[in-house]
Symmetry: C2
């Protein structure tokens, strides 16, 4: 008997039929003797429909009101799910983020969880009932107003609640079978991973893998919550995200594969600041200006200075969504930075190879570059962490690059696995 936190995304509770299927699954876990806490997202497209309504009313909705509006979505799905479970003869009660004790800061629209005090959830579980909790929301204790957690917020709610309840596992139900070695829509032979470490999952999420958001994985790692990513449409085992050192039944350390997977990201753009005087402090000034516009940058390359002119070029990548903010800020500061031209390029792609085994296996980057070279793919930028190598390519050669690297590192599946893949809920 275990305490299980289950999280179901929007596509898993899209309509009455789906809600009844989820209810059956919850009731089965309960009848198998487990204590069950369920975190639920809004039904299907509810959130988009509410955003659309807000936009019909005003082009600039105040964020406090936007959060009140959006939290209506989980209120609907959570109460319907509680009813559906109740209908199967299992007692269930639903709770808002506030009632579940999810305390956040006051950054409406992208609040961070600062504490979870789930006394009502504990009481409910102790009474033998299933507790259903609204994902994606919390309360700002200063004003007692509701807040939302931003994209992937329900996953974060589930992991935070699992940590506070000291749950045995946090099951994230989604519309894919688990975490894959690459996006199966690009690499047909991608394999589902049985397990992946927190660090690897963090790098995958930061590099464009959409199955879990970064903040959720950070939370799981910090509180050591085992996360089981699995499909709500099958009973297959998914991917266990857990700490690195694992022992098998004989007490031996299980050997880690060198490479976990290949992630890709099409959402970045590249800005090149050309003709920057090659004197100390100029690069710092550029990144100050960009940071001042609230834009996070990812990779940076500085060209070797042309001795004749004393000028250099600095390129960096950033989320394409922030492109106009960053170029506007730089153009405004052109006089004091003193560059000659600004180039903006949103036709780039980023490929990242992630694996904890890189630490102890030299030669991974050499093999990566060789594979890309053989496939005739040009590398424009490179960045590395201890367990990741990322390269920027042209956007239109990204798919080929992912396939070439996947094959070169022998990640291709040899079995004829049935693979399900799609987007995830929030």
């Amino acid at each position: 008997m275990a305490l299980i936190v289950q999280k179901y995304g929007g596509s898993s509770v899209a309509d009455a039929t789906s809600i009844k299927r989820v209810a059956k699954r919850v009731a089965e876990a309960k009848r198998a003797g487990h204590d069950v806490v369920v975190v639920v997202s809004a039904m299907g497209d509810t959130t988009d429909e509410l955003i659309d309504l807000a936009n019909q009313v005003t082009p600039m909705p105040p964020q406090r009101e936007m959060d009140i509006l959006l939290t209506a979505g989980e209120r609907i799905s959570m109460s319907l799910l509680a009813m559906a479970i109740h209908n199967l003869g299992v007692d269930a009660k639903s709770f808002t983020g506030q009632q579940a004790g999810v305390i956040t800061d006051e950054a409406y629209g992208k609040a961070r969880i600062i504490d979870v005090s789930p006394s009502r959830i504990k009481d409910t579980v102790a009474r033998g009932e299933v507790a259903i909790v609204a994902g994606f929301q919390g309360v700002n204790p200063t004003t007692n107003d509701v807040t939302t957690l931003g994209r992937g917020g329900s996953d974060t709610t589930a992991v935070a609640l699992a940590a506070a309840l000291k749950a045995d596992v946090c099951e994230i139900y989604t519309d894919v079978d688990g975490v894959f070695t690459a996006d199966p829509r690009i690499v047909a032979s991608a394999r589902k991973l049985d397990r992946i470490s927190y660090d690897e999952m963090l790098e995958m999420a930061a590099s464009g893998a959409k199955v879990l958001v970064l903040r959720c994985v950070e939370y799981a790692r910090r509180y050591d919550v085992p996360v089981h990513v699995r499909s709500s449409f099958s009973t297959r085992t998914g991917t266990l995200v857990t700490n690195e050192a694992q022992v098998n039944e004989e007490g031996e350390l299980v050997e880690q594969p060198i490479i976990a997977g290949v992630a890709h990201d099409r959402s970045e753009a590249k800005i090149t600041v050309a003709g920057v005087p090659d004197v100390p402090g100029k690069a710092a000034r550029i990144f100050e200006v960009v940071a001042g516009a609230g834009v996070n940058i990812d990779m940076i390359v500085q060209n070797v200075s042309a001795a004749a002119t004393g000028l250099t070029d600095i390129s960096f990548t950033l989320p394409a969504a922030d492109g106009s903010k960053a170029t506007a800020a730089l153009t405004e500061h052109q006089p004091d930075i003193g560059f000659t031209a600004l180039q903006y390029d949103d036709t780039i792609g980023k490929l990242s190879l992630v694996g904890a085994g890189m630490r102890s296996h030299p030669g991974v980057s050499a093999k990566l570059f060789a594979a890309l070279s053989e496939a005739n793919i040009n590398i424009e930028m490179i960045s590395t962490s201890e367990i990741r190598i990322s390269v920027v390519t042209r956007a239109d050669s990204l798919d080929d690059a992912v396939r070439a690297v996947h094959t070169a590192f022998e990640l291709d599946s040899t079995e004829d696995e049935a693979v399900v893949y799609g987007g995830t809920g929030r």
Copy 2:
């Protein structure tokens, strides 16, 4: 400068366009120098759609979850309205029933307001902002769970809030121009009343007039809150519901009209318990059984006992919706009551003539019966209060009866008034 509580029903906020129109109205009142608190219902058919979703999930939704589900409706409308007002340059914040301090008992689905502590609303108004409050909902302080107030609940929220805030007036915006001397769908010459007393409005509401629910009028009378019923689709003055004694500008008592209006009700049925032994205690036993089934009865008639048999017939009216409950209970107790037969008739109609002036003007009932007799309408049952006379007729002669009485008491409009009439929100 006054403190105004405005309430907008579901049809007034049915879509983004309507919400923007309401926002404009609120902003105008604010710019005219008034403090404004707005109570809002769920948008258009939202509540029905949510009930439909619940029924798709389970035939017997637990009432606690049903209330959580339904309160999502006001959450959506209140935040959208706050956004729309904000967009007009007027600061506005929305609050749930709980945040507005609406404390109820724990009768989920039909909770009664037991206290209103609107400190957050007072603070908001004091800051010069408009406060938007979700109607129809409150919080059960024992469990901190949300409750709903049942039909007409948003009107009750508005009046309760107006009482707690000591507002100068509570404006109930609806899709009709005010309270009419009769339903204009039946009586084309019905007139809008400029004012009506609490007592008269109570009798009208209890007798089938749909414009305000009974509980809301009771609350207004108890706390002496002037209620202005008016259309959200025009700027015309509506009907002021207020206490009876009114003085004009010269300090003279304004004369009351004898009759306020004619209400009708098609929602009742009649049960006749035939062949009841005419001995003490039998009638009491019948009404004990009916009350035990949770059914409220309205009018009662006992026939004169036939001396030969020592048996009598007892007829009473009740909401037709409770018909099967009442007949089942009576049939179950037939042995101990000892009646011979039960007749159920749901083809009756009830007409009620309401007017505070009846107290001092004899002859009203004689005039009523004469008018019905002239129109060849048979009276099956009669009941009276100090300011009301009700009669039961055949359902198919009810419209004729209403028109005949309306004309006999000279209530017909002589002007060519444009009349708007329809249902009300919840």
